[in-house]
Subunit: 106 residues, 2 copies
């Protein structure tokens, strides 16, 4: 609980559309979000992205600061989950449409 | 016709989701796109954005290179229009959802 409080997350009303779009404009971050859209809490290393661990960590930070994901510390592991319900409340349909566009584009 | 051919536009299949999201992640560019969503061809100066003409020109270039707008030269004036139908074909629902999120956010 104490560890979690060290990780700053924007409140729902602080989440900005521009920040969300910028966060999702990177293909690696979009892939991370697509992986988290399954609903599971995932570690950096458990997502199949072609980047180093430090780059992955950076991408997770961008996603957290934009309000897309929630991070919590469990021992030495940082677990990540998508703030799906909150995002859907803030920007209805946005995440689903972008993920749909990303998948249909493949 | 000759002047128009000097302005490079990506083909529909070259338009990338990441580029579109990045282009729309800037509030000024989003405002420009919202203005063009009315369907009219507009000049840089006729859109109410709080930036200098050269910055406006820069934003239009980013939007054109991302595939969001079409630009054509008419005498000394560069006219801009949204590639709405093409974008809707490439990424169904994307532009409408983002514009909707931008408006509901105000």
């Amino acid at each position: 609980m104490i560890a979690e409080s060290h990780i700053a997350h924007p409140e729902l009303e602080e989440i900005e559309l521009g920040g969300v779009l910028h966060a999702l404009s990177d293909p690696v971050r979009l892939r991370i979000v697509a992986a988290l859209a399954g609903g599971e809490e995932l570690r950096c290393g458990s997502i199949d992205v072609p980047v180093t661990k430090s780059t992955c960590t950076h991408h997770f930070r961008v996603l957290r600061e934009a309000g897309l994901i929630r991070q919590r510390q469990e021992g030495t592991t940082r677990l990540n989950s998508l703030r799906r319900e909150e995002l859907d409340a803030r920007f209805p349909g946005l995440l689903g449409t972008i993920l749909g566009a990303a998948y249909s584009d493949r």
